[in-house]
């Protein structure tokens, strides 16, 4: 067992941290308040290759498709300064770009991956609807085959990157399998007639990231734009989310880390009753717990990433990582606000934003309850095995 990152992974962390601190951090607060991702930051991030992390160079990616630990480090470091950006790149790359690479045909890869990997196109993955959230089987958006085209109808809500994306992986119903719905994943180009963006949501946290309603009205998709085969939508969707959860966990590690660092700094600087508040046990215990919570989340996240790279089954670990890291980020940011006292409630202090961003993470990409369900079902069915 070796916990040491490789020299390459260390450099990826160093470069990404410096980049994030120089380009993303200074305007994170402004982006949060305007609910806008800054286009100049976007351009810089494209140059860095943050939109194409997990696909090979031949599709204009950063060639980290077999190094999920590096991908997680990138998401963690971006999340450490602005979770709105880490969710944007994390979702784009982990649940749109990567599935097309992993499960797509060579033609699909050639057609869709390069512009996505360069960041010229943004990607999204949509399941959630008004009546289908945690219960993915409740999808009502449907598609039927008409000649050489699929015709898609329905609407999706809470779509991350929804208003900005050019390529969508859309889960729709294509028939009945006994009592269960048959689901299929479609690759949809948002320039197709019949597609439109509905309301953009105004949210508690990750406010700069775009969350929108998507409407499909007789959207005609070429027959070959089915990802992974007709009727494979449910199991494929679950596999896609297994991979995506690692990145959501990674971003929570970054968020928790940011809360921890801000708290350490403040506890050492803020003087009350004649000494820095870090000398009071009430603050010390919070700092200690934050350190334990954040780092144990990191270890779970890296182990899930590593298992993915080893070709092992990592579904259990990715759910554990997502559950642990999002709850750790919640408690860490909660304590960070408490340590900062009234200052922590102010917009001028970043912990206020971290706290709102962390709450989001306990809900999106599978709530904590759904993660517990997945973990429990796996354990009860298979017993403890990694």
């Amino acid at each position: 067992m070796d916990f040491k990152l490789s020299a390459k992974q260390e450099m990826i962390r160093k470069v990404t941290r410096e980049f994030a601190e120089e380009f993303i951090a200074p305007i994170a607060e402004e982006s949060d308040q305007n609910s806008q991702l800054d286009p100049k930051v976007m351009e810089e991030m494209k140059k860095m290759g943050y939109f194409g992390t997990c696909v090979p160079k031949e599709y204009d990616g950063a060639d980290l498709h077999d190094d999920t630990i590096s991908f997680s480090i990138i998401t963690e470091e971006i999340g450490r300064v602005d979770a709105s950006w880490s969710i944007t790149t994390g979702v784009h790359a982990s649940v749109c770009l990567y599935p097309i690479y992993k499960y797509g045909t060579e033609e699909q890869r050639r057609e869709f991956l390069p512009p996505l990997a360069r960041g010229d196109h943004l990607g999204a993955f949509v399941i959630t609807e008004a009546n289908a959230g945690s219960d993915a089987g409740g999808v009502e958006t449907n598609a039927y085959l008409d000649g050489d085209e699929w015709v898609l109808n329905g609407s999706k809500i809470f779509a991350t990157n929804g208003g900005l994306c050019k390529t969508i992986l859309c889960v729709a119903m294509t028939g009945q399998k006994g009592r269960r719905k048959e689901l299929t994943v479609f690759i949809v180009d948002t320039d197709t007639p019949g597609y439109s963006v509905g309301v953009r949501e105004d949210k508690l946290g990750v406010r700069a990231s775009n969350t929108s309603e998507l409407v499909f009205q007789d959207v005609r998709i070429p027959k070959e734009n089915v990802l992974g085969g007709k009727g494979q939508g449910f199991s494929l969707g679950m596999k896609i989310l297994e991979y995506g959860r690692i990145q959501m966990a990674a971003q929570c590690v970054g968020l928790g880390q940011a809360a921890l660092e801000a708290s350490i700094k403040y506890a050492n600087e803020r003087v009350q009753f004649g000494k820095p508040i870090g000398e009071f046990q009430g603050i010390q215990w919070k700092i200690a717990d934050m350190g334990v919570e954040v780092h144990s989340s990191r270890l779970l996240t890296y182990q899930a990433s590593w298992m993915c790279d080893q070709g092992m089954n990592y579904g259990l670990l990715s759910s554990m990582a997502k559950l642990k890291a999002s709850e750790a980020a919640m408690t860490a940011t909660h304590d960070a606000v408490q340590i900062h006292g009234a200052y922590g409630l102010m917009k001028a202090y970043a912990v206020e934003r971290y706290f709102r961003d962390a709450k989001m993470a306990e809900i999106y990409e599978g709530t904590s309850e759904i993660q517990r369900m997945v973990i429990a079902q796996t354990l009860l069915r298979k017993g403890w095995q990694l």
Partner: protein
């Protein structure tokens, strides 16, 4: 054209701590970085390569761990990297260092095609030693023209460069020279890029660092390292801050007035 960029690994802080017993730098716990002006040198080489067909060769002399800064240069886009490392090189002053670097450059130049020209880029000075001597001495060793304190460079034709050199404050000298030549650059010349993620991956998976030792360079050992050094470090110390600290108060006008009085009394102006 070959573009050699000389790079030094330095401690990543402005104020160094010295071990009082050995008079050497304490490196423990201090991250090492690429000397900032050398990074400007790499960036300049990349900008030249974007317009003119060239091969960028990063060069460093140091202990094996100095390979980290060469990897960074490779990640930024350098084509090749050479690390000059050997116990015989240890303890070198600027003269022995430039002699060793010159041997490596001569060797690489000799092995390339005869009509291929070259340019050597150095950072003006390193943030640890601050001597600004290695560039000029290296040019002398190679017997090529040198232009120091460069803040701008353009190519007039394939073998001629025009550079802007800061002579004294606000005095700029424009110089044309034929290649081969050596320039030492200032941080004002550009702002270095961050290596892209693919750049980092390629630096580790696709590119190698070539190690050169004294034997490969066919060096005369009396000119290397401590033996070949003409200077001897007698003592290194961090200057103590002795100045008094005065805090002024009152309205802005009062404070400015008092400050000017103090400066006059201290004959600062």
């Amino acid at each position: 054209m070959k573009i050699f960029v000389c790079i030094k690994q330095v401690p990543g802080i402005a104020e160094v701590r010295i071990d009082p017993k050995t008079n050497t730098l304490i490196r423990e716990g201090i991250p090492s970085i690429m000397n900032p002006m050398d990074k400007n040198g790499v960036e300049l080489a990349l900008n030249i390569k974007a317009e003119r067909s060239s091969e960028i060769i990063a060069l460093s002399m140091g202990p094996p761990q100095a390979q980290e800064v060469l990897r960074e240069a490779l990640a930024m886009g350098a084509d090749k990297a050479y690390l000059l490392t050997d116990r015989a090189f240890a303890g070198a002053d600027t003269l022995a260092t430039s002699h060793t670097l010159a041997l490596a450059i001569q060797k690489i130049v000799q092995e390339s095609s005869k009509d291929e020209n070259y340019l050597v880029i150095c950072g003006t000075q390193a943030i640890d030693g601050d001597t600004a001597q290695v560039g000029p001495e290296l040019a002398e060793e190679l017997d090529i023209p040198q232009i120091t304190y460069v803040q701008k460079l353009e190519f007039l034709d394939d073998n001629t460069i025009r550079v802007e050199r800061i002579f004294r404050t606000e005095e700029i000298v424009i110089i044309d020279t034929k290649l081969p030549a050596l320039i030492s650059v200032l941080k004002e010349i550009n702002s270095p890029r961050y290596p892209s993620m693919l750049g980092v991956v390629d630096a580790y998976n696709k590119k190698d660092i070539i190690y050169l030792d004294a034997e490969t360079l066919e060096a005369d050992k009396s000119l290397l390292g401590l033996t070949g050094s003409q200077t001897e470090v007698w003592k290194i110390f961090v200057p103590e801050r002795k100045g008094e600290h005065i805090q002024l108060s009152g309205s802005i006008d009062e404070m400015v007035h008092e400050l000017c009085q103090n400066l006059k009394e201290d004959k600062i102006f």
